[in-house]
Symmetry: C2
Subunit: 265 residues, 2 copies
Amino acid sequence: MNSSPIGVFDSGIGGLTVVKEIIKVLPNESIIYLGDTARVPYGTRSKEMVTKFALELVKFLLKRKVKALVVACNTISALALDQIKKISPVPVVGVVLPAVAEAVRASKNKRIGVIGTQGTIESKVYEREIKKIDPSIEVFSVGCPLFVPMAEEGLHNHKATQLVARDYLDDILKAKVDTLILGCTHYPLLLETIKETVGPSVTLVDSAKPTAYALKKVLSDNDLFSNNQNPSLEFYVTDAPDRVFQVASRFFGSEPGSKIKKVIL
Amino acid sequence: MNSSPIGVFDSGIGGLTVVKEIIKVLPNESIIYLGDTARVPYGTRSKEMVTKFALELVKFLLKRKVKALVVACNTISALALDQIKKISPVPVVGVVLPAVAEAVRASKNKRIGVIGTQGTIESKVYEREIKKIDPSIEVFSVGCPLFVPMAEEGLHNHKATQLVARDYLDDILKAKVDTLILGCTHYPLLLETIKETVGPSVTLVDSAKPTAYALKKVLSDNDLFSNNQNPSLEFYVTDAPDRVFQVASRFFGSEPGSKIKKVIL
């Protein structure tokens, strides 16, 4: 038994969709969340810059004695996971592999689509990881840079979002995929629009739930479970905690229930 | 005569719309441009964070012996101009006052609209500066957070941009303004869509040209003109220079004509 917290981090607050699932799957775990709202979004930044920023976030959480790290951001998972694992003395769970495993299980026709930020898509990490499991699967990827700001602005069912989604997803639809990975922790907020655009025959896979289960397995494998009946939940951001609070509830499904504090990295 | 360069800076590359006008108005001046592409956009960040980032940009340019600074970003001009002026030994020109002067001149019915980032609009700087010149003018402001990513993604005449523009500009149209300030250096890229939305009776004022003329006046007042027949043009960004290059041409009207170099602040 280990009552130290889990450290969850993201470029911003999209990772709260992952926190929500972790709380459901692991209700006895304390969580420290850190979102880099001073430098969000990471999706268009270089690998070098994403890695530099991510390592600063990791150091903050390691100082707080977390027992495991969850990289609740696809761009960081895609571009910096190896570097994070190199410096972390505690287990690290990313969002890419759990979603890949689930998508491979779900696909019948061996044609999988992936949407994400420019950085995630250009890294080709999904393609690589899917083909490691089954090289006969064909992967069709497309960057959807406007989905993050549209989700943050609350344009869930706006006609403009539908039009943009149709443009982005056109090639993926033509490729006749039967499974689509939502490769960004913001995208669950646009679930309805994406579902409507791709139609009922395409299974949507988002990383939040598979990542929570991957974390559960890692805690189990390393004997790190907590039996805390009153686990704590702490939220930190690097800028504008008050502004973040409103948007945070959109991701979290309810008000975070704990003040969001600002930290300087 | 002074052949030192003008330092122009922005949170990203929107400020290139200002550089373009400076080159037209002051063809003998050398220019060093710095865009903080590692941390763009500033529009949703706190005043404190925008000021911290902006002062880092200023220090970089001052080290390069610029003879004047142009803050080619409305968010920085709105939130950090005073701090910048405090530390700068050379004259500083922002984009807010030049646009305000032009808008006040243009308005006949004394009803002026302002659009900008969340940070710019919440600062109320336009309202304050307009009322300093003429307290009887009514100002109607609205933040348009999706315009920056839409302009950067090249959705100039996309139906989605038109829909979003209609939503954003609805209240301003109802207020019957006859003049609209484009309070963000990105917005000239969406000029056609904005023009179409507000109709021909509204005069659009963007900061680029008035700022170039304000700079000319400052150089004149301080005896700082150059007569360089081969002025230099240098572009620096804090991340992803190659990716920036493509988008830069969209703002600049042509390829920047000089390599974009990366710097670490």
